[in-house]
Symmetry: C2
Subunit: 291 residues, 2 copies
């Protein structure tokens, strides 16, 4: 059973074939340039591969609503050339297999649920903290869509009392992404995050912001597991700080051991590591097959 | 087809029988006292009524996890006598029909989806603003449970710059419930909300807090409709203010007409009005039948 997977990122595309056990058998990646150029490479990779279905986890915003005339489009992205681009339509011209299309982060949540840190559960939240902040979630086995899809990176959190940085989100200024994504860290401290010492005060502030977001996600979505990936989360010193702040902010309001003695197993780095995204797309391919 | 419905509130219980069209045929309500006294009245009401299933929408926190040993319990409530009370177990002693148990607000979201303002959609969020603030949601046709169930009333929002009130939540101080539930309005202004003039500045501040919460719910859950009920929301002047603030805070980030020209139909008072809660329990009874 050969499945096709595409992790369509704003910076790079990853294409892979894999199987129903979440194993990646072959992969390729290349920078995201124009749709014409990029999609040609995608088509070239899959040509002749005999895939039986395809999953696409994409940067957004996208239209994931199967009943909508623009289903399968990347919609209002500010990324040049990609606004209102029918990515799924382009793929369907070349490959006559069932396809599933969702956000990269909804896919990653599904992948971790199938094969990773949330295996066996019925809900999980996946958040990536990198150039931007995005999160997706699976609830009762279903990915969250609805009016659009989650855009959890843009929620508002309270400002740290010592933070004077105005925020970098072009829409909202100091929303979560504006305060805590990689570019905000660099702009605030004048140096890239991965050049900062692990005991720098930046990480405490970062944990404070991310923990507030997690508390809101917990209170609103009640996920059984929270998985945190992306470039910034490679700073492993963040995890204990985030867990401590989550407990401090929630104040034992939710009486579950996952938020008390077992919090180390509740807020985690992706078990699929750097494969979380592409395995997410593989999980979407499996969904396409089952639908 | 006669369905049994119980809206188990912390202040009063409502019991009703109704049908699969959401019509309430007979109802009774009484104050919530001890479990013994209260449940006896519940049992007396349903005895001899020939119901074919029963739905229970309860105040919380509850355990809605069917695989848990304490499924059907009201768990860590501070309400005297009701902590760790097996409400579903008590009902099962008396009535041998399929039962469904969830939070009152998850039930209300389901009821509005079946028969009310969100009819025909696959997702909706219901928030009640009264003595406390609670919210429930249906996503892809399923009520949200998971680690526990949503406790959306306790998320944190940013403080209004002119608000000096410290907040009334016994757990979190100035979380949303602590700043915007009925008791907070009364404590801040020294007078009950329904005695304040409709043009009092209190309503602008109230709208500011509720709108922030709605923005977070939209970004995290992406519901197709938001329904706002409860005593405080009887102040109809709040609705236009809340809609304006939601647009101001989101800054057109989500390009959907529901959040632009059609926001009057997106954020609404319950179509089922004061019946939202009991109809929610009726919807749960229907779910029990279908499972």
């Amino acid at each position: 059973m050969i499945l096709g997977a595409i992790e369509a990122g704003g910076t790079k595309f990853v294409c892979a074939i894999g199987n129903e056990r979440g194993e990646v058998l072959e992969r390729v990646s290349f920078p995201t340039t124009t749709p014409e150029e990029t999609m040609k490479k995608v088509v070239d990779f899959f040509n002749g591969k005999e895939i039986i279905s395809m999953g696409v986890g994409s940067f957004g915003p996208i239209d994931p609503n199967k009943h909508s005339p623009t289903y399968g489009y990347i919609t209002t992205t500010p990324k040049p050339y990609w606004g209102n681009y029918n990515i799924l339509g382009e793929l369907k011209k070349h490959f006559k297999v069932p396809m599933e299309f969702d956000t990269d982060v909804n896919g990653a949540a599904l992948g971790e649920l199938k094969w990773g840190a949330a295996k066996g559960l019925s809900s999980a939240l996946y958040i990536t903290v990198g150039t931007g902040i995005g999160a997706g979630a699976v609830v009762e086995g279903e990915m969250i869509n609805g009016l659009l899809h989650p855009e959890m990176g843009h929620i508002y959190v309270r400002r740290h009392p010592e933070d004077t940085y105005e925020g970098s989100c072009p829409y909202h200024g100091d929303c979560l992404e504006g305060l805590a994504a990689g570019p905000a860290i660099e702009a605030r401290w004048g140096i890239k995050g991965d050049m900062l010492p692990v005991d720098h005060e930046a990480w405490d502030m970062e944990a404070y912001y991310l923990a507030q977001a997690l508390v809101n996600y917990i209170l609103i979505l009640s996920p059984e597991k929270i998985i945190m990936g992306g470039g910034v989360m490679k700073q492993q010193q963040l995890f204990p700080k985030i867990r401590d702040y989550v407990q401090e902010i929630l104040k034992s309001y939710i009486a579950k051991e996952e938020l008390a003695s077992k919090i180390d197993e509740y807020i985690l780095y992706p078990e699929l590591g750097d494969n979380a995204g592409i395995c997410g797309a593989l999980a979407l391919a499996l969904t396409a097959l089952n639908n």
